[in-house]
Every structure is written in structure tokens, then in C-alpha cells.
């Protein structure tokens, strides 16, 4: 394959709606900025110069296209061919850089030079800090105290790159609180600041914009499957935190009705409230961080705490397009727990010599549970596991 895959550019859905999900539920102060962002994105994504610059950075800086690896020993174990889309080999170690590069080019175009972001696992914060260093922009990353503790290496890297990392909330604070705080910063400094949201969540146009920028994963993977495997996969699997790597790879296969799409959420310690991050599997429709989707909440509409061994899946909401893909039956979702993810982490490490991110380990764990003797499985290996070593080595079942 020559050069990065092409973005799958669709028109933004009217009023940001995906069926009954999506929308834009934010304070008035930022409504004009969201409208400006949508207009700027539509214009940029149809400008050959903007796209050329994006592809240039994706190729020469980020390292696209990422390889598609036929995982032979894993395939033997599963009993059918398994292909891994190697987003773990992207610069900074996860798919998050696709979105950060695209959004920062857009921010530059809009004349906004102060960047705020939230981060959970630290991968989105790291990608944003990296792209800010590359493009010479100011970067502030909000991060929950609990995540700062468990992702200390990423915190150190962000600081080296020149970003300011702002601790958020109480000692247990994670991605949800960091996202709220990043939005508050944006509401305050909206005139000169762009908010780079890290997943396909948030108010319109973010779910559409992030999906478009991450669709580079799917368009590459689809072409590579045709070229290297000689046909389409039977199943595409991706982990789902907010859902950006999943929607990015699904985007290219939505029209291939014979291809099953399977998203994997964090089952955490189990199905009890507060013990997982399975918004689609265990949540109910509600509004969080500006859009209507499935969220983990109590009867009064208060958002519940979450848990996952992987910080990137430790989030009580999910992108609205996934909610709609579940409602229409086009995609299905399951939750796998900490133990299952950890087993898959070790297995992939030993069988393929690839240390996966704990988020991506959830997707690998799902592949291990599919019936043998059928068609090829494509797994989005969204990131590498270096950031998770401390968690893995220190893990004790509770």
C-alpha cells in the first residue's frame, strides 16, 4: 500500500443526530464556536491543500500507513485467520495521533493557537502534546488524579513535550472529570482556544469530526485486507472507550453488510454499578458531555463512577453513532472484564511478540471468544502496552 489511506468524508449529520442520539447540549457561550468549527471542518475537508498537508504529516511524521499483520500463531489459537491493524506502531503508540494532527491543523486554520485536551490513559494527551510541539502551539491537558497516578510515564512525556498537565478533581478522578474540566476551560477561553476532544464523543460536530479523522484506519485496513488477505474480513473487532478507534475502523465497512462489526467495552470487575465502563451494554440513554447516547447513570440522571483496568475505557459514556449502530443492529457490542483483557494481553505478547495496550487487549480477548473454523477476523490493535506495564505487573484480582 502506498501512502496513508484516504479519509472517508461524509456530510455532517443534520443537527448532529444519529437516529435519536447525538445533538449538542452545551452552554450558550460555546454554541457559536461549535457552529464555527463545523463550518471550518466542512470547508477544510474539501480543500485538497488541507488534505495534502494532513496526509503528508500522517505519512512522514506519524508513520502511515500502519501495517496489517497476519497473526499466524494467534490465528492457530483462535482457529481462523486473525489480522491485526497495527495502530500500536503509529507515532506516540496509539491511534489518537490521527485525530490530534487533524484537529490541530484545523485549529491553525481557524487562527486558534491555545489548545486544551482531556486525557484518560494519557494517549490522547500525549498525542495532542506531541502535535502541539510539532506545530508550535500552546497545550494544556486536563487529567484525573487517579489517571495521573496510573499513567505516570505519559504524564512525564507530556511535560517534556512542553504541555501543562492540570490535575483534576479528587484522588479518584478519571476521564469523565477531566473532560468536564477541559470543557469548562474551553467555555472560559473560547475565543482563542480550540478544544481537541479525544474520542468520538461530545457535542456535534465532534463525533463526526473525530470519526472522519480516524476513518483513515478503516480505509487502510479495508484496502490491506483486500490486498493481503484476498477479501473482506468476516468480523471487525475494536475496543470501545468513547469509540474513536472503533468508529474509525467500522467507517470503512458500514456499507459491506456481510461484515460483522463488534465493539468491546470494559466489563471491569463486573456488572454492578460503578464497577465497569460498559455504557452500551449496561447503560441507559442520557446526556453527558454535550451529546445524547448511552450513559452509566442512576435513576435520577446522576452519572455513576466507572472502573476498568484500562484507563482509556474507564468512561461512563460512548459516542452517539455507536448508540445508533447498536439500535439499528448494524454493530453489536459486548463487555469483557479486567481478567479477560489481562489474559489476552499476556497471550498476544507471547504468541506474537506484540505488547498491546490494555484497551486493545479487550478487542483481542473478543477474538479469542469467536467460534473456530470461520472467516477472517480483523482486530484494531489501537495501541501499544508500554504505558500499562506498571498496571499489569501490579495487578491483583479483587
Amino acid at each position: 500500500m502506498n501512502g496513508p489511506g484516504r479519509l472517508i468524508v461524509t456530510a455532517p449529520p443534520p443537527r448532529g443526530r444519529y437516529g435519536e442520539f447525538g445533538g449538542s447540549f452545551v452552554p450558550e457561550t460555546v454554541v457559536p464556536a461549535l457552529q464555527q468549527l463545523e463550518a471550518a471542518a466542512v470547508e477544510a475537508l474539501s480543500d485538497p491543500q488541507f488534505l495534502a498537508e494532513f496526509y503528508r504529516l500522517e505519512a512522514g511524521y506519524a508513520g502511515r500507513p500502519t501495517p496489517l499483520h497476519h497473526a499466524r500463531r494467534l490465528s492457530e489459537r483462535v482457529g481462523r485467520p486473525v489480522w491485526l491493524k497495527r495502530e500500536d506502531l503509529l507515532h506516540t503508540g496509539a491511534h489518537k495521533l490521527n485525530n490530534a494532527l487533524g484537529q490541530l491543523l484545523l485549529a491553525q486554520r481557524m487562527g486558534k493557537h491555545r489548545i486544551v485536551a482531556e486525557t484518560g490513559a494519557g494517549q490522547h494527551g500525549l498525542a495532542t502534546a506531541t502535535a502541539c510541539a510539532l506545530l508550535g502551539m500552546d497545550c494544556i491537558v486536563y487529567m484525573g488524579r487517579e489517571d495521573m497516578r496510573r499513567q505516570a510515564v505519559n504524564v512525564a512525556k507530556m511535560k517534556l513535550l512542553g504541555a501543562r498537565v492540570e490535575p483534576v478533581g479528587d484522588p479518584a478522578a478519571t476521564l469523565k472529570d477531566a473532560t468536564s474540566e477541559a470543557i469548562r476551560d474551553w467555555v472560559t477561553n473560547v475565543r482563542g482556544t480550540h478544544y481537541v476532544i479525544g474520542s468520538a464523543v461530545g457535542p456535534h460536530p465532534y463525533p463526526w469530526l473525530v470519526r472522519t479523522l480516524q476513518s483513515v484506519i478503516g480505509s487502510e485496513a479495508r484496502a490491506q485486507m483486500l490486498e493481503l488477505a484476498g477479501g473482506l474480513p468476516e468480523v471487525v473487532i475494536a475496543s470501545v472507550g468513547g469509540g474513536s478507534n472503533a468508529i474509525g475502523i467500522f467507517a470503512a465497512f458500514l456499507a459491506d453488510s456481510e461484515v460483522q462489526l463488534l465493539g468491546v467495552e470494559a466489563g471491569g470487575r463486573g456488572p454492578e454499578p460503578g464497577a465497569n465502563g460498559a455504557s452500551l451494554g449496561l447503560g441507559t440513554p442520557g446526556v453527558l458531555h454535550g451529546s445524547r447516547s448511552y450513559i452509566l447513570q442512576d435513576r435520577d440522571g446522576q452519572v455513576l463512577p466507572t472502573h476498568s483496568i484500562s484507563a482509556g475505557l474507564d468512561y461512563p459514556g460512548v459516542g452517539p453513532e455507536h448508540a445508533n449502530l447498536m439500535a439499528t443492529g448494524r454493530a453489536s457490542y459486548l463487555a469483557l472484564d479486567d481478567r479477560q483483557a489481562l489474559d489476552a494481553f499476556h497471550l498476544l505478547t507471547r504468541l506474537e511478540g506484540i505488547i498491546p495496550a490494555l484497551e486493545s487487549s479487550h478487542a483481542v480477548a473478543a477474538a479469542l471468544r469467536l467460534p473456530a473454523g470461520q472467516g477472517p477476523i480483523l482486530v484494531c490493535l489501537s495501541g501499544r502496552g508500554d504505558k500499562d506495564l506498571e498496571t499489569v505487573l501490579g495487578w491483583e484480582p479483587s
Binding site: 454554541v31 472560559t188 446526556v287 440522571g301 446522576q302
Partner: protein, 259 residues
């Protein structure tokens, strides 16, 4: 116009004089049963209209003080239903000034828009204000509020362009909440809101309430002829942390009113 809307206009007349003080209280802070007392204390201090915040786990427009108060209230068992019950209790004990509930969309949506508006009106609430419900998404709540005889407040910000300003002003049946500056509650210099008040004044016959960052009597005075009401939240919630919350709330409201 609903009678609730009339009561709000009567409480915050567009007289061009000094704006009336509109204290904000977080329901359930500092304790779940004490909110009715604080409503009465705020009225006794001279509050012309009282805003009652129903706590939410993820309040995007709240600064640190209100976030902490909301977290505390939730941790001590405050719910939407109990908040409305406190308003009802205050009414039964003689509270006369209009009450506006301020909360976020999700708690209201889980309660059910229609159900919430009916319950709020029955409890003696006059209007609702939902900061994360912009004009484009307001239709559902607008219908439910109007059927329940409840006013709806709209919000405008310094970043709101004139065309939207006119829409927001036209759709308010309670008051028009003018956010003094880009940001969250508790921060900033309210006189920065002067431009916005100038722009919106000609567009609406509803009272204009300026909020975010008002803490002192001098700021209230400086808004004479510009705003019809000033919302004071963080300063009041801070007062409610004292040993005798009702006495401190009453005292701070009286000071803001120049009594």
C-alpha cells in the same frame, strides 16, 4: 404569557433603576432538610427572586464552589424530587418571591420533561433555567413548561451573535439570563457584561438578569439601569457554609441589597 412569567416580571420590573438581587442556593447544601429555611432567609434578606440549583454530577457551567456544593448535596442524598419538596415546604411556610429552578438537562430528562415541569409547577416553582440546553434543542422542554404553566429562561453570552440574541430574547417566558463573561460561575468581573446587556435590552420585554461573578454590593449598584436582576451564587453558597447558614445567607443578601 403565563402567570408565572407575570410574577417574574413583577419581581424584576424593567424600571431602569438598581437591579434586584436574585440569590442562588444549591438544594441540599449544606444539608438536605435545610433548603426551605435558606429560601426563607434569602427572601427575608431582600432577595426578589430565588434561584434553586438542583445538583448534578457533571455541571459543565459551574465553577469550583458550586461544583463542591453540588457534590456534597448529592453525597448527602439530595435528589430532584427532594429539591422540589423543599420548595414546596418553603411555600407552605410563606415564601412569596418567585423561584426559578436551575439544573442540567440530564436530571430533568430522566425525570421526564413533562413530569418534571408538572411537579415543579405543583411545588411552587415559577420557571426553569437549563444551561446546557441551547435554543436549537429547547423545543421539548419549551412545550412541557408551557403546558405546565411554567416559565422558561433562556441564556445569552458575550459570544452570542445578534441574530441568536434576538431568538433567545424572544423565546424567554421567564427572564433572559445574561452571562457576564465567557466562563463558569464564580469567576470574572460582571461589569464586562455591560455590552451584552446593551445589545439585548432592546430585543426583549422580559427582565434581564446578569450573572456569573457578582459578589459585592458595589457591583450591584454599578449595574443600575443596565440589568433588572443580578444573580449571586458563589457568594451565597459560601455564606451557607457558616455555623448558622440561615443567618449568614440572610445577612449577605441584605448586604447585597444595601439594607
Amino acid at each position: 404569557m403565563s402567570s408565572a412569567g407575570d410574577a417574574i416580571l413583577a419581581a424584576l420590573p424593567r424600571s431602569g433603576g438598581e437591579p434586584r438581587v436574585c440569590p442562588y442556593l444549591m438544594a441540599g447544601f449544606p444539608d438536605p432538610e435545610g433548603t426551605a429555611d435558606l429560601l426563607l432567609a434569602a427572601e427575608a434578606g431582600g432577595g426578589a427572586l430565588i434561584e434553586v440549583g438542583i445538583p448534578h454530577s457533571d455541571p459543565l457551567a459551574d465553577g469550583p464552589t458550586l461544583q463542591a456544593a453540588g457534590r456534597h448535596a448529592l453525597a448527602h442524598g439530595m435528589t430532584t424530587r427532594l429539591a422540589l419538596a423543599q420548595v414546596e415546604l418553603a411555600r407552605s411556610r410563606g415564601l412569596r418571591v418567585p423561584v426559578v429552578c436551575m439544573t442540567y438537562l440530564n436530571p430533568v430528562a430522566q425525570f421526564g420533561l413533562e413530569e418534571f415541569c408538572r411537579a415543579a409547577a405543583a411545588a411552587g416553582v415559577d420557571a426553569v433555567l437549563v444551561p446546557d440546553l441551547p435554543l436549537e434543542e429547547m423545543g421539548g422542554l419549551e412545550g412541557s413548561a408551557s403546558r405546565a404553566g411554567l416559565g422558561l429562561c433562556t441564556m445569552v453570552a458575550p459570544t452570542t451573535p445578534d441574530r441568536r440574541l434576538a431568538l433567545a430574547a424572544a423565546r424567554a417566558t421567564g427572564f433572559v439570563y445574561c452571562v457576564s463573561r465567557t466562563g463558569v460561575t464564580g469567576k470574572g468581573d460582571p461589569t464586562e457584561g455591560t455590552d451584552l446587556l446593551d445589545r439585548v435590552r432592546a430585543l426583549s420585554g422580559r427582565p434581564l438578569v446578569l450573572g456569573f461573578g457578582v459578589r459585592r454590593r458595589s457591583q450591584v449598584m454599578a449595574l443600575a439601569g443596565l440589568a433588572d436582576g443580578v444573580a449571586v451564587g458563589t457568594r451565597i453558597v459560601e455564606a451557607a457554609t457558616g455555623a448558622d447558614p440561615a443567618a449568614s445567607v440572610r445577612e449577605v443578601v441584605a448586604e447585597l441589597c444595601g439594607r
